[in-house]
Symmetry: D3
Subunit: 242 residues, 6 copies
Amino acid sequence: MPSRSSALQPLLAFGAHPDDIEFGCGGVVAKETRAGRAAYFVICSRGEASSHGKPMQRVAEAKKSAGLLGATVDFIKLDGDAHLEVRVAHAIKLAIIIRRTRPGIVLAPSVVENQHPDHPRLGQLVRDACRLARYGGVRELRKLPSHAIDQLFYYAVTPEAEPPGVTPVLIDVSPPDVLKAWTIAMQAHASQAAARNYVELQLTRARLRGLCAGCGHAIALFPGDPLVFESLAQAGRSARRF
Amino acid sequence: MPSRSSALQPLLAFGAHPDDIEFGCGGVVAKETRAGRAAYFVICSRGEASSHGKPMQRVAEAKKSAGLLGATVDFIKLDGDAHLEVRVAHAIKLAIIIRRTRPGIVLAPSVVENQHPDHPRLGQLVRDACRLARYGGVRELRKLPSHAIDQLFYYAVTPEAEPPGVTPVLIDVSPPDVLKAWTIAMQAHASQAAARNYVELQLTRARLRGLCAGCGHAIALFPGDPLVFESLAQAGRSARRF
Amino acid sequence: MPSRSSALQPLLAFGAHPDDIEFGCGGVVAKETRAGRAAYFVICSRGEASSHGKPMQRVAEAKKSAGLLGATVDFIKLDGDAHLEVRVAHAIKLAIIIRRTRPGIVLAPSVVENQHPDHPRLGQLVRDACRLARYGGVRELRKLPSHAIDQLFYYAVTPEAEPPGVTPVLIDVSPPDVLKAWTIAMQAHASQAAARNYVELQLTRARLRGLCAGCGHAIALFPGDPLVFESLAQAGRSARRF
Amino acid sequence: MPSRSSALQPLLAFGAHPDDIEFGCGGVVAKETRAGRAAYFVICSRGEASSHGKPMQRVAEAKKSAGLLGATVDFIKLDGDAHLEVRVAHAIKLAIIIRRTRPGIVLAPSVVENQHPDHPRLGQLVRDACRLARYGGVRELRKLPSHAIDQLFYYAVTPEAEPPGVTPVLIDVSPPDVLKAWTIAMQAHASQAAARNYVELQLTRARLRGLCAGCGHAIALFPGDPLVFESLAQAGRSARRF
Amino acid sequence: MPSRSSALQPLLAFGAHPDDIEFGCGGVVAKETRAGRAAYFVICSRGEASSHGKPMQRVAEAKKSAGLLGATVDFIKLDGDAHLEVRVAHAIKLAIIIRRTRPGIVLAPSVVENQHPDHPRLGQLVRDACRLARYGGVRELRKLPSHAIDQLFYYAVTPEAEPPGVTPVLIDVSPPDVLKAWTIAMQAHASQAAARNYVELQLTRARLRGLCAGCGHAIALFPGDPLVFESLAQAGRSARRF
Amino acid sequence: MPSRSSALQPLLAFGAHPDDIEFGCGGVVAKETRAGRAAYFVICSRGEASSHGKPMQRVAEAKKSAGLLGATVDFIKLDGDAHLEVRVAHAIKLAIIIRRTRPGIVLAPSVVENQHPDHPRLGQLVRDACRLARYGGVRELRKLPSHAIDQLFYYAVTPEAEPPGVTPVLIDVSPPDVLKAWTIAMQAHASQAAARNYVELQLTRARLRGLCAGCGHAIALFPGDPLVFESLAQAGRSARRF
């Protein structure tokens, strides 16, 4: 009996590289799809500049991983891996996707600068795209009806990317099936998982958040704008264990 | 069919002066009591140092106002109006009240320093009291079973008291009966309402928040700790109108 | 007997869209022109991407509105509405305008990112242009004598655009003729005023600032650099009403 | 022809130790008294815990120094040097002084914590005292009419005490007679000036601010609340030299 | 061949409760004592207000744990567990200890407010005590020669206590003997370790820091003041793995 | 017997204009080269847009100045003085230089926006280049082996460029030969030194930092990432003089 539209509207997640969404917030996606929400991934490079893994392998890994999380995945070309720039044409391309998929919730990498340069730039582009998708007069977007999303959340691929000065929302990803789906989705990025301790990094982060939140594991999302609540019943409980 | 305990647990609001709760977050209380949640007010002075209104009048106004909001009200004595200091004995007194009322949600004035000095001090005392109420071994508290609240929210009596660096949660107080109950509850503090434009100040603030949130009026609360969500269905929509 | 040059030097305001200056700081302009200061508006698009109003209508509205505020208005073309990018060539174009008009005070939209993407980008371009206008050796600027402005102030088109960590200066716009000129100047943007509650938004903001400042209405400007005072007589009074 | 009351109302400066005002903002006082404003110093200890100088010598130095700046000086006893605590009784004592002297401008040490512990505590006490002086009903204050100051400025005794997140106002203290009066007033605290490079520290700070402000020397003050301006003519020029 | 005095001067760590030092920075202590530095623990309560463990047991656990880390431990009485207030008399008591032990490095709980109320208060007291220990004229301290420490570092007992806006220094605690000593020292607080996942919490935090720092485990300390380096050879490497 | 590689690895400093490195951190370079570390300067324009000095003169000044500091200097062309934009192609060009020179430490202008627009943009480009130099698969970089630097430090050409929220590291540049080398290196930029008080500005800044650090002169560098220490012996002493 969800009274708010976002409960039914799809989730749209953007990643700069084939593994960003999974490493940054894959557990949240697993939880949402298990709750019946549709999830679409849009990946803006094929990881062709990373130290490990060929593009074809990366694409295959991403498809397998998205499947494990219950999401569909599309690849688009902007400037290429490690070459992304902030261009309005890119934001418009992303806004077209938003108008087509009409999501309630959008996930994007955080705009904190001190990380892989593609991440904050994609975060900026998605933020702008969410606005452009709503404006009525943008020439390139006119063929599709405008769309206002409910909420933009930023995810942080690494701890350094967590934005200071934004109070996060912690999503409980403790149910064993959720945690397992997330873990094997990360491991599906075998070329990356083998290179550095990425999977351990994310599980360690989630365990630390979970210990503070009083649950097994949790993932922090950073709201782009204040949340609007009907009442405090929506607030639930908070992370205050220690 | 609320699955989280806070939906049913009472709300406990603390105010330093007889009108602080109403001016700072009365609309939220009106909405919660209309949704069936019990609300208790605890007021820590009788406003004896304010420029207008005698203590007996202030107490009467507060009782009338709480009634209009559907809340009960109690007065306690700490150091007196304009004399509040941060003492552990005060925090323990407040912790005893928390253990007795066992609230899910606690509301307190924000700890931003540049406002009436009693406000941030009471905010600090309530914050500490919420922890003390949970600890098992505090001698003065042992007679009552320990209690862990779900969430502490700060309210801001004036705009200057809104804490920077904390993402607020906006509560929609637009329903006409809610807005009306809040307005007359503020007006019930007749000695204060007559002196400065307090009622207009609060309604103007709430209208500005409402315009940004896409509703009539809204009140910002500032979470003491990150919210923990079961899923993004809880997130609802965000304030992104302009 | 103004001893500082800025008292007589013109004001130059930049807007990304035909209505940004009026909605963001029109009351300040009304007050300055009434005090005898010349005001020039430079608008960097014709609003061709907005949801409401055709470009020709928008231009006509802006001309009418500027006239009501006592300002002249010019339109320049950068990348077009909703397409603005941060390019040095744009900043140089703006620097040429600064060298031509030789303002004491420059007004620009704030550089806070979470608003219409054109706004912070224009803010950045104006900030850079103010510096370029001062440098002696920029090839494209050599035909015009260099010019150092007295002060750059940012205005915020919406509350979200107010920069945290910058202490604002509040300009009292309470005199009835000032408030009226501002209001009808905003209403002159009829295509926009009809669509959302823009006029009410701005008057609500100004009323809230005014209530805090102890006057009728006030508009916050955000200084780009610390103010230099001859003495504390310049400081005037502060907003400390509650 | 000053239109604002603060131009004529006296300045009241508080110091925790006999030399704090001079080292922190003596040049500003010199400039104000030369402009005809009365200045009162209130010093809250006799420096009895400092490494150098006996209390009697410290008091004598402070009297001489205040005279050189054109200010009167009074000593009050709170908890004693290095023993200051934040007590409401102290704030009330300071509020009585504010009601008696009825200043337009109040100067106090900044509330930044990482400095001599007496400094931020006195800053807090003065901040609270300015509010208490305005409230009508504080029992201990009733004999004196309430008073609302125009503006509270914080000064920083050392660079570490400059509050982040507050845009300072820079006061030009370059006129030779002002700079000289300030210098000899600092040197008058002979017991301190001999011990560490305090005088050089302050002149170096002021020279650095002056180089940025485009004048000889300048002192930064940090406003407690936003300034309210009648018009932008009051804004003057800003520090934008490099 | 250490050229700086701190290499040989002892380390002095303060804890509000018997287990705070171990949980907050025990691994750092283990590393320092293994490098030949003396370490003294001063604990300001016997944990008599905690949910688990009797005071005698807590004291015994602390003694055992300190021994495992190679540190001595002393207990002092301030206001008692969960009753600590910020009083100058307490700071003086701590300053006497500093003058007696003459440490190069002092460790204290961070002053972030949203944690156990005793923690930030002890952090403030230690910060003040470090200054008082240096001042020449504090009556209660005169019997002991004044002492200037080299550096004050704050530790965070829980993640919430990590101060925003301070760049941490990460101490590599990866060597197996260090990690093991730290782990068994935490486990020695058996009454606490059994109650909540404290040991796992700290090892998870340290593992996350270690993954970012490119080593096994690391602990973040937060400097009270900027570090002064002889040359960049001192800077070592930084945490930039992802 | 330096155990960390950075003690021997070269230093690579980037400047947007011929004098930025010297004015921003020349004293640090002088100290490092005197300690036997190789230093390379890369300058990204010939200062052709500055108010004073022709490009050929600027280049000659920079060569002379670098020589006085014991550094080599190279000039590269990006977009030209006052025309720098953030382009991936530029970052890749800088990453090639990093891979060729294989520095332990990299110095770049801070990314604070409110300064000469070329400065923060170069800071961003260098920050990105340090990451790109480490990634294995960037097409344009494949001919050179990847390289991970030890640490990126930002320098601030002017006080306004010092990043808030980053704890600086202060480098003692007090030895007479270091201070003299730095001073004459700055003076070697005769075309600039004559125009404004740049040399005095920098020496005043360094003297102020030195007074706080307890040495003659010091320069603040701002670490891009937390420092990782083997032990607290590395921490040395801190700036806590007042």
